[in-house]
Symmetry: C2
Subunit: 421 residues, 2 copies
Amino acid sequence: MHSSEVRDYMQGIGRAAQAAARILARASSAQRNTALLAVAEQLQSERQRLKEANECDQEVGRAGGLEPALLDRLGLSDARIDDMAEGLRQIAALPDPIGAVRDLHSRPSGIQVGRMRVPLGVVGIIYEARPNVTADAAGLCLKSANAVILRGGSEAIHSNQAIADCIRRGLAVSELPREAVQVVEITDRAAVGELITMDEYLDVLVPRGGKGLVERLLREATVPMIKHLDGVCHVYVDDQADPEKAARIAYNAKTQRYGTCNTMESLLIAEAIAPQLLPRLIDLYQQAGVELRGCERTRALAPAIPAATEADWRAEYLAPILAIRIVADLDEAIEHIERYGSHHTDSIVTENYTRAWRFLREVDSSSVMVNASTRFADGFEYGLGAEIGISTAKLHARGPVGLEGLTTEKYVVLGDGHIRE
Amino acid sequence: MHSSEVRDYMQGIGRAAQAAARILARASSAQRNTALLAVAEQLQSERQRLKEANECDQEVGRAGGLEPALLDRLGLSDARIDDMAEGLRQIAALPDPIGAVRDLHSRPSGIQVGRMRVPLGVVGIIYEARPNVTADAAGLCLKSANAVILRGGSEAIHSNQAIADCIRRGLAVSELPREAVQVVEITDRAAVGELITMDEYLDVLVPRGGKGLVERLLREATVPMIKHLDGVCHVYVDDQADPEKAARIAYNAKTQRYGTCNTMESLLIAEAIAPQLLPRLIDLYQQAGVELRGCERTRALAPAIPAATEADWRAEYLAPILAIRIVADLDEAIEHIERYGSHHTDSIVTENYTRAWRFLREVDSSSVMVNASTRFADGFEYGLGAEIGISTAKLHARGPVGLEGLTTEKYVVLGDGHIRE
């Protein structure tokens, strides 16, 4: 496809999304929820077509030598189709974020001022193999009254188109415009380049993919982005920690799942408690098959552990590997987190009130915790009802992002003929 | 100055600001307020030095042919010095935005989750002639526990340095780092280029200047920005408006001040009420010396008014000029605002409940009003206590931006040994 054709195609999608966004912003809660439920029903009643389309993607993938892990993520089984439908029903059941007015209060001038929650407008989502993201992301945007442009990976194009068909039929049931959810149907890489620079049409981008994608967007995108970079998360075990809680949390934060961004990657432990606690922790980790790397002081206690390098303190392993450092005290722990962490999620284990509060206040991360596993940093665990991603940026949305992150607030002013004197 | 020297200088400022930001984030409310009051006192006790430095800027300005309006804005009289000091005392008296925890609630897992308000970190402010912005912006950043880098116009460099001296002495009184507030002391234009791309040190940019500055930043900045573009504000007078309120609001919104971004630039009026109301309004505007431009239907009522062109509907006059359009109804008014407006501030005058609510919900602007003058769109009028700017963006801060716009929230999680199952 010629680059000007890609451009025209994407611009057309952008314009249509913007027009649909205006209609969506006026649609009632009931209308949006009806559409969500209708899409869920379509997905289940059209499961045969979905599986056929998916089989087509899988064949192409196998022929093209797609890795087994990616092939697995690409798959649409009956169970996954039911999960998608169930996810949409759950989104429909959430409270409507749109239209809420807060803090309406009277001013000395006589006007009343408040803030109303409204959709952002048009959301662009860029993602990779999993076709279930198509339904999930469309559902979150529809619930929050945003139009959405979905750009999935080319390896899932047939599955995504089949899901998009179901979405369109669901929108029609509720008399919402079909352009409320659009799937980019060209796999040309230039389409992404267009999408991320269409700031006249798009209000926000949500990349749901690897670090490479986010880094490309950081360089090239002109549309603002809900971005997620590294999750280099820490647990600091204070010398006034309860050893049982410390062991439980430090073990869970590393081993409950290895590939998630809220998994602990470095363990910091106060030197006064290390001789008592660390040998036991090392034992637990080794039984779980976790490869350990330690600072000099750690290796003094456990000489078999290889030395951690500077790169280890910055590593997001996403694997059964853990770096361990013995620190003098809370100050040194905070200093380490500030220097090497990624401002994602960090936790202290302590019974000391003042240190707990200092950690909460002073550690500059999107989630800070006391006596809890970093694995809790998640939209569902926080009660957001849904998660569109986790933001490591400070502006707009920080930490797990739910429906609220897809909205903004405007000021409303109620007067009765008031003028400014 | 060589470009690598500019770079080194700015990088040094950035590093120092980041280090200061960490100390500020830990400083108590009392410590920050003490500094604010000490700076206010310094400004007043050093007024002679401030006026001498300012006289120096004024001489350079006069010699260089600076416009009289700019020379006036540059001036530091006793009254303006007292205003700066008073402004800082008012900021000190505001509630501390930092450290507040909201919505702390228990989750089924047993953890408690809430959100804590924290500083952004390092704020960069770029502004033009008015030296009082130096004290004002430094005060807002100090109150919100952010370090700030101030880059004022070269025409005010001596005044800004003298104010910066007062700020540094105030910081010292409260034992806060002097790098909490830094004024860029080189006037090289390349310094701005460095500042706006130092995303490793800066968390947000606040441009306080004309459209040219914001447009440059939109093109070149990699640091996120609280941006303000045009204020093309509308009043729509519905056919169910109270004519007295309509006349009062439409007159005030245009004539109370001409040069502000919340001044009405286009008046929309329903055709059913226009014959009754418009001649009276035209009369009022003409008495006030406002130049009018009208649509065809307006000119049918008042043939002496010249025709408005397409450019008039998009114009931010910032002057005693007004475009007037007669529209069929609310739908046409909303359509006009959507097409030509700048999403800043728009107001409807009506006694009709349903139309008032439709306008509030459907107009996608940072402030939407019923029966009130657009001139109320202002941080002080909204009760924010202070204003760092008005944002026309949708993400992070929208509309008048007070201290809250200089902060963010992080999640806090309180557990008691909780792990994820």
